[in-house]
């Protein structure tokens, strides 16, 4: 079986994710966090590039400015932003987690123009939605200034439709992972979804179409099926470690995976209200969302993927997901899935270290290490 060229291209782009901003050129806008709506950046005619950290690069002493609440990912992004001359101000920062607010404060302390905080709130109430629409329209004005043009509602509606089409294709690809013999791995999905948030939507959709056309020719993977929950996975190390032990990540509930595709935006009505509803009514993340809603979503993702066991990988100083675990465990137990918890994990650690942590947890579930 031959791996479709598209999948190779997506993996190649994923491997270059730390250069995505430079690759995107003059129209690139740095985005930190899932909350910042890519659709609005698209509508301005700009290229959103969602930034990730780099656990392979040690932190600078300056990252201590995010202490005591900044986590490893936020600190890593902080270092990147300070050291990368290709970053165009302002960086758009979402309120996914408290660490990102601290990132905003730290950047603002050095340069008030360096970052723009996209303060969208998350509670499912009319009052929160009203506030979000105000903030989204303010963000549109900022983007309009950057782009030198106004964003009309029709522009935004068109951008929403394009991103929805992208997400629908990703959802179709995820079905390839849910069959009895998964034809995509967790790392494949990371590559697909991460590049979705860093490259031209049009170019990305072309690759997705190619991949969908040849999806059945993808090699099938074997191994016990894992749901990965807990912290966001902005890099592949945890997924790679799991799959190197002979497992397959068939489901995940974070925004570098299935949650991105699940976060469809309504294409009728006011587009700004639709973007707000994406957060208020859409799939919940590990921070800022109710425990009950999060646990139900985790169970949904697990059931959909046919997971056989669950792993909650939670980073140090990522406080939200830890409170979800008992409810997640109970919901998953109803499906017959055991949940293993690994918490207080450093962001900066090697795959070897991650593997050493995971091995005693996962191998008793009856797996063999993948042969080279």
């Amino acid at each position: 079986m031959v791996t479709p060229r598209a999948l190779d291209d997506l993996h190649a782009s994923y491997a270059r994710r730390h250069s995505a901003l430079a690759d995107a050129g003059a129209s690139a806008v740095s985005v930190v966090g899932f909350d910042v709506p890519l659709e609005l950046v698209d509508a301005a005619g700009l290229q959103p590039v969602r930034l990730c950290g780099d656990p392979a690069t040690p932190l600078s002493g300056g990252s201590g400015l995010l202490d005591p609440h900044g986590d490893g990912e936020a600190k890593s992004i902080f270092d990147r932003l300070r050291g990368d001359r290709s970053v165009r101000s302002p960086v758009l920062i979402g309120h996914d987690r408290h660490a990102l607010l601290r990132l905003f404060f730290a950047l603002r302390a050095e340069d008030r123009e360096a970052a723009y905080f996209c303060d969208l709130v998350h509670m499912p109430y009319r009052t929160s939605g009203t506030y979000n629409v105000v903030r989204l329209r303010q963000l549109a004005a900022v983007l309009g200034d950057l782009a030198g043009r106004s964003i009309h509602d029709d522009d935004l509606s068109a951008a929403i439709a394009r991103r929805n089409a992208q997400k629908a294709r990703i959802a179709a690809l995820l079905d390839l992972r849910r069959g009895e013999r998964p034809r995509l791995t967790g790392r494949d999905v990371l590559a697909i979804v991460s590049t979705a948030q860093a490259m031209s939507c049009t170019a990305h959709v072309a690759l997705l179409d190619d991949l969908l056309e040849h999806g059945e020719s993808l090699p099938a993977h074997q191994g016990p099926r894992v749901l990965l929950t807990g912290s966001e996975q902005d890099h592949p190390a945890v997924c790679e470690a799991i799959e190197a032990l002979g497992f397959v990540v068939v489901a995940e509930d974070h925004s570098w995976g299935e949650r991105f595709a699940d976060a469809m935006v309504a294409e009728t009505g006011d587009p700004y209200e639709a973007l707000s509803d994406r957060l208020l009514s859409g799939p919940p993340g590990g921070a800022k969302f109710p425990v009950d809603a999060r646990a139900r979503y985790t169970a949904t993702v697990a059931r959909r993927g046919g997971a056989e066991l669950a792993l909650a990988w939670i980073r140090d100083r990522d406080n939200g997901p830890r409170w979800d675990v008992p409810d997640q465990r109970a919901r998953l137990a109803e499906l017959g899935l055991p949940l293993s918890l690994v918490d207080d994990q450093p962001y900066h650690q090697s795959i070897a270290a991650i593997t050493a942590t995971l091995e005693p947890l996962l191998l008793p579930h009856g797996l063999r290490r993948a042969l080279p």
Partner: protein
């Protein structure tokens, strides 16, 4: 009068401290009886508008106060263990989680002050990643309703928030944040009226707001008096009860009158030449929440070092962050008090600018911070004021080594703060 606690003699310098404590203890007992008789009751965080409940005569307990009491009664280790036993973390958001954990106490005789009554509502602001989850789990555990005030943020504002907040808050604060807070207050009032059968009166609410402003004005005068007086008439231990007990009761004539009495007592000490520490040589600033399980810590450097903690955020925030002149819409005025509560202490340059302003006004020789505050530390060092970070938690005593921490502060005083003090006195 004095208490011998943990080998240290604690002077009760301010008689109004005893009065405030006695009043609060009596009040709490009354609340327990009222709730047992069927009255409504709320548990609220310090960052949500208690003034609405005050105006509706709905008793409430502040989460942070309850956690401080639990910590002072040395119950933190066992209560946090109850969370761990149930699969939740015992080392996150302890200032809020500790109150949640107290609901697993099964022996009322062991519970601090007989335990928290069962609330009708829990009202909080889910500002960090975990607090909303804690409130949700707590409410579910005890069968209460959780009402959340969204915690919002803005991109920019003038730096001198303390100068603008009282009378020009419309210049300082983002209107979208105020709009949301007002809308949420309307929602809360409707729910309280429905759940309790009590009616919200705008006239009564205006009275409460006015009483709060009057109370905080007395705190402002006290803060200014302490700043201008050397040696200091009081230390921070005199303010923990005399300020915070009154803050939980703000909006009452009692609170306003006790704040005035506190000021008059401090002023009398100034007139009488009665300092907290007659041999004061070094003036220290405490940055962060109080060490509620070891408040003797603050006065323990007087005898050997002549070092007095003259400043903590409680009296200073009362002075600078609470007074809000009504500009015609009382709920919007209320919002102006609360929407930026967190930013004062977190959004640079607001915290470092304010802490430094206070340090300079109080003639501080050194600052001791409970946890890392890199921007604040940098600002202090640039201003030539020594800075020490303890790396502790204010209610979780499990990692607190009393002797080691006192030794660290003593060394800091000797090596850094005292030399600064000598230069200050020489320049005076």
């Amino acid at each position: 009068m004095s208490d011998r606690v943990a080998g240290w003699r604690r002077q009760r310098r301010i008689s109004s401290t005893e009065d405030a404590y006695a009043f609060h203890r009596q009040w709490f007992g009354d609340v327990q009886q009222r709730v047992a008789a069927g009255e409504p009751f709320a548990i609220i965080s310090a960052e949500v508008p208690l003034e609405i409940l005050r105006a509706m005569d709905i008793p409430y307990v502040m989460i942070q106060w309850w956690s401080s009491l639990v910590s002072a009664k040395q119950k933190a280790p066992s209560y946090l263990g109850e969370l761990r036993a149930r699969g939740w973390p015992d080392d996150q958001a302890q200032y809020f989680a500790l109150s949640f954990a107290s609901c697993f106490e099964t022996d009322p005789a062991s519970a601090p002050w007989g335990g928290l009554p069962k609330p009708t509502l829990i009202i909080g602001d889910p500002r960090d990643d975990d607090q909303g989850k804690i409130y949700e789990l707590w409410a579910r555990e005890i069968g209460a309703t959780y009402f959340a005030y969204e915690r919002t943020n803005f991109n920019d504002a003038p730096d001198d928030w303390w100068a603008l907040g009282a009378r020009q808050w419309d210049r300082l604060l983002d209107p979208a944040m105020l709009d949301l807070h007002v809308a949420q207050s309307h929602d809360l009032i409707r729910i309280l009226e429905r759940e309790t059968g009590r009616r919200f009166s705008l006239d009564r609410f205006r009275e409460v707001l006015q009483l709060v402003n009057e109370q905080e004005e007395w705190f402002r005068r006290t803060r200014d008096l302490v700043a201008a007086t050397c040696p200091s008439p009081i230390s921070v231990t005199d303010t923990f009860t005399s300020v915070m007990m009154l803050q939980w009761h703000r909006g009452t004539e009692w609170g306003r009158d006790r704040a005035r009495a506190f000021y008059e007592e401090v002023a009398a000490r100034v007139s009488d030449g009665a300092p907290a520490c007659p041999q004061e040589r070094v003036r220290l600033q405490w940055i962060g929440a109080g060490l509620w399980f070891d408040t003797d810590f603050y006065d323990s450097f007087m005898d050997d070092h002549g070092a007095v903690f003259v400043w903590s955020m409680y009296l200073a925030l009362a002075a600078d962050a609470y007074i809000r002149e009504d500009q015609g819409d009382p709920l919007r005025t209320l919002a102006a008090r609360y929407v930026a509560f967190i930013q004062y202490l977190e959004m640079e340059p607001w915290p470092s600018g304010w802490y430094l302003k206070e340090a300079l006004a109080h003639g501080v020789d050194g600052a001791v911070a409970i946890e890392a505050s890199p921007h604040v530390e940098e600002a202090f060092r640039r201003a030539g004021i020594p800075f020490l970070v303890l790396g502790a938690h204010n209610v979780d005593s499990r990692r607190w080594d009393s002797a080691a921490m006192r030794e660290r502060v003593a060394r800091f005083i000797e090596e850094e703060a005292a030399p600064h003090a000598a230069l200050r006195r020489a320049a005076a």
